[in-house]
Amino acid sequence: MTALDTAPAPVRVTSGASWWSSVVRARELGIVLALVALVGCTTVANPRFLSGQSIRDILLGTSILAVLAVGQAVVIITRNIDLSVGAVLGLSAFTVGSLVQDNPGLPVVVALLAGLAVGGVCGLVNAVLVRYGQVPALVVTLGTLYAYRGATYLWAGGQQITADELPRDFLGFADASLLGVPWLVVIAVVVIVAAGVLLRNYRLGRELYAMGSSPEAATLVGIKVGRNTLVAFATSGALAGLAGVLFAVRFGTVDAAAGTGYELNVVAAAVVGGVAVFGGSGTVWGAALGALLLTTIGNSLAVLDIDQFWQQAIVGALILLAIAVDRLVALRTARALKTRALKTRALKKGGSHVD
């Protein structure tokens, strides 16, 4: 009896796990297929789309959006949201812009660290309000989205930092590369890999998923929910600050409006990349792929001579499509698990009956 009872169990677990991972893989596969189709169609219409310069543009654009999307993924996985990232990017870009403007000899590393610090502080403010003020993340970050942006406007006014006011070393960083790969892309890849490994293989990462799956259960099993919330928002803020520096490097021109409306693209990238808005599932790889897809769509619109105004409408439609698909997958998973549970129960009953 015991042998009969335990025998099917491992089979069930492995088949469940492989089924689940195939769904996840299918999700990321879907984005890759969409990307391939998009690139294929655009290239057929205009072969210059696959030229070195065009690919470079896409990768540089993706690197900024991907860094933001990784931070957003970390926050959404804990069942929160960070709408303030665009404003943090703007504040960091302007801070770092004026910093290097005043100190032309400043190494780029210091500028990057300054951006991380500015963003990290903004993220901590969000986290404290969410955790200790018990204010929902949506309300907090919607508020700080306007507060940070407004603060940047108060400080900058109509002032604009242009490329000729920034030191050459700083701007040169945009063209500099490591073994042929632009530094911006290298930084983005490092961020993606570091966050991906942390979330996948480390205790802290798994705790973030647990918090998103069930905040109550996470508290009950002794996860330090408060500390982890701080970590998640500080990460998102710091990465938005880093993206601000990358923004200043790439575009060379910074004013108080830098990054306005980015939060929509960032949320879209994460959600399209399979990071469920209910929290508890999704990967930073997916979010980065989402960022790549969105940037490629933007660039192919330009190449195909389609009105740039379509971009935002497509972003919105993609968000709706992605959450609807997630919902369908979740429903099917639930149904599959239910039938499997019923089957095993029937099997057990049958077994005891024979006994």
Partner: protein, 334 residues
């Protein structure tokens, strides 16, 4: 039942509502005394026109938030109706046809939100962030970055005009009418009670026979239609149809609703408080603008107010809870 209706209405006005109404009165008084030109009849007209779109959209938003949902797409609905209005006018349709069409368009856009939330059971936050981007994007697709400005004076002057020689703007009558309807529906009809019941406990509401999904769907339709109406009024007020009209207005609306004592978790709130919240927000913005603070900087005030309006009641509650615990401990020790 009918005899205790009046005290029950009074008891619904919580200490927070009372506080907001008092603060609003104080801010109005201070602004009238300290800011030049604030107390003039002309500025009263501007103040009403400023708060009109926020107040209009805040009415259905109050219902939506009390049911525990949210609609972040309202400002984009306003922008899209404004763009469509301009585009239809350019094609030579008469204004009498365009205006109902625009309100209808708003209702359809709201129905899209309602469909995603009630039929596909998706979280309203994610849905309306998606439609926020989608509707605004479509507005730019319709009108690009151009503007339509040559609207007939008979319509624009009605929106900006006043009743006879009094300083009372025409649109104030419309607003008071709609606010009265919303107040009665929310606080004195079965629909209103259903809204509170759904927000307090959706499962229980469902089991007690409330058609939760149908209710939510129609709330989104009304929310969209009112945002469409606000789009028409916005366009006529500035005599300018642009795709970016009302950009970011959802923040002011949500801020006003939460400031007015509506709980973001649903189930709690009252319309008088919300109206006071709208007036407070608009007064602050108007007074600061008269003191030469730019629009972008004003957003700091709105953003901070939004957070504070949820933070303060929370802090108050946890403070009271801590005090109660302490009292218990003292009692147990003695």
């Amino acid at each position: 039942m009918s005899t205790d209706r009046a005290p029950r209405l009074l008891s619904r006005i919580s200490w927070w509502d009372a506080a907001i109404i008092v603060v609003t009165a104080v801010v109005l008084a201070v602004a009238a005394g300290a800011v030049d030109n604030f107390g003039t009849g002309r500025n009263f007209g501007f103040l009403v026109l400023d708060l009109l779109p926020i107040a209009l959209i805040a009415l259905p938003m109050t219902f939506v938030v009390i049911t525990g949902e949210i609609d972040l797409s309202v400002a984009s609905t306003l922008g899209l109706t404004s763009a469509v209005l301009g585009s239809l006018w350019n094609r030579g349709l008469p204004m009498e046809t365009i205006i109902p069409l625009c309100v209808l368009l708003g209702a359809v856009l709201g129905a899209v939100n309602g469909l995603f939330v009630t039929v596909f059971k998706l979280p309203s936050l994610a849905v309306t962030i998606g439609t926020l981007a989608l509707f605004r994007g479509l507005a730019f697709v319709v009108l690009g970055d151009s503007a339509v400005a040559d609207f007939p004076a008979s319509f624009t002057s009605w929106v900006t005009g006043t009743i006879g020689t009094t300083p009372i703007p025409n649109v104030l009558v419309l607003l008071v009418l709609l606010a009265a309807v919303a107040g009665v529906v929310l606080h004195a009809t079965p629909v209103g009670r259903a809204v509170f019941a759904v927000g307090a406990n959706e499962q229980a509401a469902r089991f007690s026979g409330i058609r939760v999904d149908r209710l939510k769907f129609w709330l989104y339709v009304v929310s969209g239609a009112v945002a469409g109406l606000a789009g028409v009024l916005w366009t006529l007020r500035y005599s300018s149809a642009r795709a970016d009209n009302g950009l970011g207005l959802e923040l002011a609306v949500v801020a006003a609703v939460l400031l007015g004592g509506v709980s973001i978790f649903g189930g709690r709130g009252a319309l008088p408080g919300v109206l006071a919240g709208v007036v407070l927000l608009a007064t602050l913005q108007n007074a600061l603008r008269l003191s030469d603070v730019t629009n972008e900087a004003l957003n700091v005030v709105t953003g901070v107010l939004l957070i504070v309006s949820v933070l303060l009641p929370n802090l108050g509650r946890s403070l009271r809870a801590a005090l109660r615990r302490r009292r218990h401990r003292v009692v147990r020790q003695t």
